[in-house]
């Protein structure tokens, strides 16, 4: 008993814990010892001659989108899809092959982005040779998309901003849709677009060609003969593209293909990227704490893209793991900073790159460089191919605006 009392006596104060609230009313600098934190702002231009553009980061076979346009200032785009052989004489119902009577043929695509102000949007579908692949040129494909080859059109309601759209053919009009005997059941489709104004559409073309998801679909719909269960009599057989070399888009505009060495290119069919290098003064890196960093890019001219589209266009800024020029590996921590690109605008583009510049603070930190790429590069590009002024430009050089705090060296009496 006595030991218990002694133990409790010892533990009682400890049980009281160590929570604390040290708040005192005050206002600096009247009451605070030491100096106040000083906030400064400075602008640093990119290292002269240290910026370059490179191309070829995304092969044509890696594209995950289809681009089609008509009269768009960003350029003309056409797309193509080759569907593989689709069995159409029988269908398997509950483990038994049944004769299949086709009454409808459908083609469908998933719209990712469109000009929401464009009215009477139509996707024109043309039969093209099944041998069409990613080696086709814009002129070569465009020539194939002539009135004689027109199969039908998908009429897109003005209210549809995104999602799957289709054309379904019934009756006698099915015939043009059916693959020719010489094509071994395969169907090649070229895609163009038109509306009440110059416009464009971005269609989904997922790389996972074995899953339905958002892929283009070629469907036969009809009746399975001999099936008693009426709920199972109506069947559909669908197929989607299964060869990456047999899908894609072509364009007549590739700004980076013949690039001006004094400008910086991003995006486009060539998948261009631009590398910027900076030199932050040691005073800021060693002594100050950077609290905001904004990269300012100046377009070489008005930006041209798909207007009024969901999500719009943007340029992404990546840090480097190590500076190896064109082949520099980029950092992959979190979402990269992005700058919005507005169609028709030549205004400066601000990109908040604090998350990148914060890693430049130490001598062992990341290289003081930023890789620019189109945010949709991983999809295979986009309509917009932004071109920016470089350090060799007379005005509008790429620059960083850095806001930083200078420590107060607290601890003074």
């Amino acid at each position: 008993m006595k030991r218990w009392v002694l133990t409790l006596a010892l533990l009682a104060p400890l049980a009281a814990g160590c929570q604390e609230d040290l708040a005192s009313p005050g206002r600096c600098p009247e009451l605070c010892p030491g100096n106040a934190i000083v906030v400064r702002d400075t602008v640093i231009e990119a290292t002269a001659g240290g910026d370059s553009s490179y191309v070829g980061y995304t092969p044509r076979t890696a594209r995950r989108i289809l681009l089609v346009s008509n009269g768009l200032s960003a350029g003309e785009y056409r797309s193509f899809v080759v569907f593989p052989k689709n069995k159409r004489d029988s269908v398997n119902v509950d483990g038994t092959n049944r004769p299949f009577i086709i009454d409808t043929v459908a083609l469908s695509f998933v719209i990712e982005a469109r000009d929401t102000l464009a009215k009477a949007l139509r996707l024109d579908l043309y039969r093209i040779p099944i041998t069409t692949d990613t080696t086709v040129s814009f002129v070569g494909l465009d020539t194939l998309l002539n009135p004689a080859a027109l199969i039908d059109s998908i009429v897109v309601a003005d209210s549809v901003k995104s999602g799957r759209v289709q054309v379904a053919i019934t009756g006698d009009r099915i015939a043009p849709f059916l693959p020719a005997a010489a094509d071994s059941g395969q169907l090649g489709v070229g895609i163009a677009v038109r509306a009440d104004r110059p416009t464009g559409v971005r269609l989904s073309m997922p790389p996972e060609l074995t899953t339905v998801g958002a892929a283009p679909l070629f469907e036969y719909r009809g009746i399975a003969e001999g099936v008693v269960d009426t709920a199972k009599r109506r069947q559909r057989i669908q197929v989607q593209p299964n060869r990456v070399a047999s899908t894609g888009y072509v364009t007549d505009t590739d700004l980076a293909a013949n690039r001006d060495p004094d400008l910086l290119y991003v995006g486009g069919p060539s998948a261009a990227r631009s590398l910027l290098r900076f030199s932050i003064p040691p005073f800021i890196r060693d002594t100050a704490q950077i609290i905001r960093a904004t990269l300012t890019l100046t377009p070489a001219g008005p930006l041209a893209g798909l207007p009024n589209s969901r999500g719009g266009d943007s340029v992404s800024a990546f840090g480097l793991v190590v500076d190896l020029g064109a082949k520099s590996p980029t950092t992959t921590f979190g979402a990269p900073p992005q700058g919005r690109l507005a169609d028709g605008s030549a205004d400066e583009i601000p990109v908040d790159v604090f998350s990148l510049v914060a890693n430049w603070g130490t001598t062992s930190g990341s290289p003081q460089a930023i890789f620019l790429q189109l945010s949709t590069e991983t999809l295979g590009g986009g309509f917009m191919q932004p071109v920016f002024r470089s350090t060799r430009s007379a005005v509008g050089k790429p620059r960083l605006r850095i806001t930083y705090g200078i420590p107060a060296k607290s601890g003074q009496p």
Partner: protein, 386 residues
Amino acid sequence: MIARGSFRPLALATLLALLGGGALGAQSSQFGIRGLGIPIRPLSPRALAVGGAFGMFDIESSQNPAATASTIQFAALFTNTQNFRRSSNPFGSASGYDNRFPQLMVTGPIGGTNLAAAISLSGYLDRSFSLGTRDTIDIRGVPVGVFDTLSSRGGLTDIRLATGWQVTPTFHLGLGLHAITGLTRFENRRDFADSTFAPIVERSEVSYLGLGLSAGFTLRPVRRLTIAGAYRNDGHLDIDRDSTRIAKTDLPAGVSAGIRWQASEKVMWAASAHRRSWKSADADIRAQNGIGAENTIELATGLEFVRDPKNAGHRPWRFGVHYATLPFPFTSGDQPTEFGISAGTGIRFTQGRGGLDLTVQQIFRRSNGGFKENATVVSLGVSIRP
């Protein structure tokens, strides 16, 4: 009669175990913002209950090394303090609380001699505070709201090794060696109303080291009266920020005197006075952009009513008051003051081997310019005499 004990490994183990319980120091205060902090009185709960007046005679306090000579058995003391305060100044009011362990001590006689020794860890100065302030500044040509927080945790600790000598049963001498050490962690933070600006956070550690000496006596010229005196000089303090020497500051010398009168078997009265020459730190603190420092005095008096003279520590009543000036002003020439009233009691159990002492202080601190603070400080002391 309890047999005399002496230092044992258990004693040190107990002390170390108690040290693990939390930070050393005393209560935080807005009056610890300036200078080196707010001074801590190295007193046991029993001494605090009588305003500090027993400190010059109390073996569980660290004011007078000669008091150590009165030790007749090994004892360990551990003190826990809960501090609840309300601070106000021209910029607003705020309430706060904290928990500290301001006084740890192990003491015991040295066998076969008239000597006794004590090791104690006491709060010396506390510099724990947190200040918040709002403002608007122009960044990139745009007004941006900012919220600044300056916080400090820590302070200085006095580690004392004291020896007391019973020259005669009525005359004791003592000598103390003091190591004044400690660490203050500062965090200076600025948050922005515009979240596109990252917070600025500056952290630094300021460490201190100094050495001091103290000497004292107690004398009982007549049966009911005891007087005491002590002198202490703390030399100077080396101050490092993040391992870099930034300053050297003189610490004060001080003289103390005390008187204790045993009015009857059940009533004891005491008074004490202390003067410390903090002005010696004035030039050094000003050189570090501080406001400065002033000499201080402390006066204390109190009574203890004992119920059972054979077990004096069991359920007594203690009352006291104290008045002190504080060394570090908010503005030059306006020296803060502190006035406190206190009361306490205690129990002894297991034949006096264990003890609990409880003290409640109501402290009022004031300074010109509208600086006020009312604090309620609850101290609990645990003593062990194995």
